[in-house]
Symmetry: D3
């Protein structure tokens, strides 16, 4: 009998696997169209239509100890407790040298996993790939909103350690702030390889808000922003991360019900496959 709850390709034991995927089904502060809470469940379901073999990397998920730890149970209306729950889950993993890969949910949850990584790796840098600046001091008074998550990360990590790519929407003040305080590369990922090179072996947390993709590629998200990057652009960036020291990562803001064709969910699944292989491959293959 088949009980296929977990992601296809992720069949190791979460207790000891080097890479541990988990779902964070929360979208409580979404300002426009909610639904990112359904991403982990729908991605698990649709992942069974995807191969575990990556022809881009010539690697197969079956050859690595990749785990799926299931979903966190998060109360729908409370962002602070959801971020706390993410932090509580990610902290022991990171302390044990495992790499958590979060499937959102909304972008504000990144704060929980990022803070867990920062505690173990004080020299952490943040790779931020997104359509939006997410640098508001607050959104309608809420400081833990998805629109403020990178600002909160900056509160923790300070200037020059956030490397932001692909942004094409935000307030004028946010663009000014980004230009001054961040390593800011709006509109595309052209500078991605160069920036990576400067980072050497520094520990990295990688957060991908999937709305960085053009809505033609990825319509299934709460706030579609025309003028985004292609799937090939994002894939190329992921492959460039191979060999880097990634200590935590996330893939956020798929809202699967907004794309009835299932293409957006397929994109998210494929990005997850490539990302887990990028993280796992160098350390365990040899």
């Amino acid at each position: 009998m088949a009980m296929q709850l977990r992601f296809c390709g992720l069949k190791a034991d979460p207790a000891c696997a080097p890479v541990v995927v988990f779902g964070a089904p929360f979208d409580g502060t979404t300002s426009f169209r909610p639904g990112a809470r359904f991403a982990p469940a729908r991605m698990r379901e649709d992942s069974w239509g995807l191969e575990t073999y990556s022809p881009y990397q010539g690697e197969d998920q079956e050859d690595y100890d990749l785990a799926d730890a299931g979903d966190l149970e998060l109360s729908p209306g409370n962002a602070a407790s959801a971020i706390r729950a993410v932090n509580c889950f990610a902290t022991p993993l990171i302390e044990a040298g495992q790499v958590p890969v979060m499937i959102g949910g909304e972008h504000s949850l990144t704060l929980g996993a990022f803070r867990a990584a920062l505690e173990s790796y004080p020299d952490l840098h943040l790779i931020h790939i997104d359509a939006h600046t997410d640098l508001r001091e607050d959104y309608l008074g809420e400081r833990l909103s998805h629109a403020s998550v990178i600002r909160r990360c900056h509160d923790l990590i300070g200037d020059g350690r956030i490397h932001s790519f692909g942004v094409r929407s935000g307030l004028r003040e946010e663009f000014s702030f980004a230009a001054k305080k961040l390593d800011f590369h709006p509109f595309d990922l052209k500078m991605f390889p160069q920036v990576l090179e400067t980072l050497g072996d520094l520990p990295l947390y990688v957060t991908i808000d999937l709305d960085v993709l053009d809505p033609s590629v990825f319509p299934g998200t709460g706030t579609p922003e025309p003028g985004g990057i292609s799937f090939h652009d994002l894939l190329t960036a992921l492959l460039a991360l191979k060999g880097k020291v990634i200590v935590g990562a996330d893939i956020m803001e798929l809202s699967p019900l907004l794309d009835l064709s299932g293409a957006s969910t397929a994109v998210a699944c494929k990005i997850l496959r490539e990302l887990t292989l990028v993280i796992a491959a160098p350390g365990f293959h040899v």
Copy 2:
């Protein structure tokens, strides 16, 4: 030029109209499928396809001073502040003798308007029409959840003053609680006229969770519960309220994007038309 923001049929000045409709676009604690935040905007838009004349009552909204005060601005992720905002808006209206009619948004918001009414009318009774008991002490730790709203009202008003109709889903404990503490009439509205008669001229707050309707009639809601009542059943109950002392009311939990046909939104609009006429007609027509 046409700028039709307001509901069709509601064109009086909110500052002095006896009946004031307002939107409360918040769905932050929704546990299953969010989207009730879009109800007020979509209802306003679609209301222009509806006549202002009710052939059921022989009355026309054009003949009464009915107002639309627009939407409250509510932060997406914070139920407590949303409930507070509803309370702040409703209190001065009720003190001035105006009747607020809230368009949800999720059911937890009822607490804000109900409390406002209770302060001005200490002998208030609550008419509760719903598919769900909404009597949980808390939901995943949250006490201000949509699943707890009637329990919170009971905290304020005590035993025997909540008259609950149509409920067909809940925990065993909730049904027990309801049987002991509420005037509880599950499954249908058959006892509605008799109960109303016992209430005489007592002030009433009427809360309608539209999911009391069968999903065939009203699929556009977050948690569809088969086995519900018909449109005709609900309409009949509304007409039975004519002449009663309604000091506040609400229509909650339309999630318009879940019903692409627009039928659910049309149901909500028609219920609003009939409800506003029921409230307005006896007092101002003569």
Copy 3:
């Protein structure tokens, strides 16, 4: 090879068949949500999922000479010419003793077929089954709108010869007009058999705006009106027409794209099956 353009069950030659179905794909004056133009094509396609045998009548379409003449070619933006085209198509049929059954398209087209019938049958009566009064003198200045079609029929036929059933929406003036000038039975079809009896062997034109059905049964229509009749109610009325002298009929306002489930299209197909059998059966079976 299968080329199933025609309706399943309608395979006679239109040139001589006693009952001739045709499509009128026009929705140019629709005031709210257009799309009725797609009804004939989608009904033809989906009719092949329907049996030709009616267990309600114990009759099979295969046993009768029922024809499908295809669709009229109607220019999208011109109601007057579309009505004229319907009239031109229906007139020779009616003069030859054939019964045209039109699949709309919007309700205004009824005028073309009705006028054709009236010319051959000066003592014609109109059976009108609809959610809306359709009695406006004009709609935003247009006198040939779907909202005026019964008023235009009344212009031709005068008082007391329109028998209207099921109406639950309209202006106050329209309800007044209806009460004075029509044989008016709003809200339901309860009086349908009695009224039919009074009509004896008079020639009848039967126009069915499918939005008379409750939106739960028939969400696929431009202006859904909650509070409508059931499929069983409409079916019962159709069966009551058996043996009557029907000289023309139509089924209007299916907008198939608004109901992705296909249920509305199935309803329309089944109504068409029953209607064609009701018209054909008495005259040719014996």
Copy 4:
């Protein structure tokens, strides 16, 4: 961490639970619109929005040993092997005195489970609730089609032992066959209690093709047939089965993607809850 693959309310061990639910995700012979293969997965997911307590029966699934055995792995294009797989799964269960409850998938699969029951219970009777006769000798040459499943059951069990309710569509020959060979009660379930009474303690297999419900209640099915029964009608029939000797059952033909509102899936989940409680309650509660 939550990994909620199983149905909410079904948490016993399938190896020994008296009632064992399993999914059969196959729709290979569907003639019109496929998609029933997705029913088990979508029902499991949405079941978590449903309470385990039935206010209709005053029983809670938590109080009984109900199990979910997951899904059979069925090859998409081969009906014969799918039916065989169902048979192989159901046979040992029935031999061990456990009651299998299948979630379809298409109706042809009933043959596999029905045959398993017949082998253990030679005096088995079949309760058949359906919109369609399903009595074709073959469908386009295929004898194992969903349109022939009851005919195949009749091949095995002979005259007078199939009790068929709610049928409203089929060929004229099928209706004739049914009238002669079956205990045939078309259109509704009015005779259901009387028929049950005549069956006393005979072992029963209950097959429910959910398209027996009116499309207003249950649009999410491949071949919607207007004119069906209400949710209340079906629920009443289920409750009438309480105390009967049910040795196998199934719920077939939900096609969840055809009803974006989720209402059809909710109907199927609720029917499953009531059915499992009806089967389990008398034997273990006392």
Copy 5:
């Protein structure tokens, strides 16, 4: 209280603002799939999810006097009167030196605004960006159809003054006509900057049929034509218009209900933001 009827970012007084956006919700001659009538309302609603700051231009709509004049009230079935209404609205604006920017609605309406501009600016040139030639003499007899609008403009303005870009669909005769009578650059916008240069300070009317975009970017339109341009291509063309003398413009043929993801509406909103800034910026910033 929030009453957000107008476009986000357009808050000046239409009576005196240099740039005046207005909606023209008419789609009466649409030959394939109607629905463009819903574009202005849906764009206004969704514009509130968009920032007013353009990172492409480094400009913010808040810094300019941009106005939203609401929607024209247009009778559904009458193209001639809709075009006339557009003309009546645009004429006084243009005479007062204000720039009207129309949100369609179908493309035929361009004729009304274009004619208004031509009356004030006899040396007007037309910039035409579209997937279709729109050069038919008539469409099924109608001369004011969306398929004839550029032909009608040519009737008024003559050879060599229509600069057409991106066209990839039409009759052979239309392509011949275009090659002879228009400045015709089919398939893409590569020649756009060069052509603009030749036009110097001539007054321009810019009409954008959004179906020029590839359906991957913009599926929400009545007649999707594969092989179109990218968002970036169109954006680049808009930015090239900066500093030009634009005396009128329009954005046509968004049909929002055809793209449930909302991405097409987001594209239209962003094009509107960039266009209004392009028109407004040079004249008032300094």
Copy 6:
């Protein structure tokens, strides 16, 4: 009267036309999301919104004898008999020198037409454009599955005669097999012109699984694979086929209901137009 069953632009007599399009509405072995069976019917319907003139080729379908032979009648659950039916239909056409162009339906059907071509043309080569390898020995035990179709073709034709382009998904073993046994050009079509040149005047069968296109361009398919080619890439490849000896071709795996916008169906129609013109043009124009 218009009865537009056939494809727009294909109006010759199938008995003698050099190019004969036919539909094969079968999707019985689809492993993920079925629905390709609806492609031929929906493409015929929507083809009437497309021009018959190709501006890319400067050719008009009206100038060639192109025929539409309608749909094969295929039993839903039996892949072997469906493939046989395709073979039976294609064989006499090919023997008569006519070129069959199949509209799928699922990819497994290619085997039927390919085998027919191979019998007449022993030196046949296969041009395979697809997102998937389709090289499995079997899929869940089925050897005639869509996932095995190219492997079955290889069984017939042997090494080096299958030229495969665009593949980006498959098992590791399939990629190995492809690298050894096929002329394999994964990910894109860059090598397409060079490969064609090497093939000279050899007879070619061209099979296009439309999922080779990126899901942004073509979301309407059962298994969307991000990272695909553009419409322009595929169009360029088609045009490169002009002058080649194409003796059979197919366009497979459009699943129209998965793309409500209709864009995927439009893509398929346009590819069909270009393909039929590419095949027909060199031989008959001169």
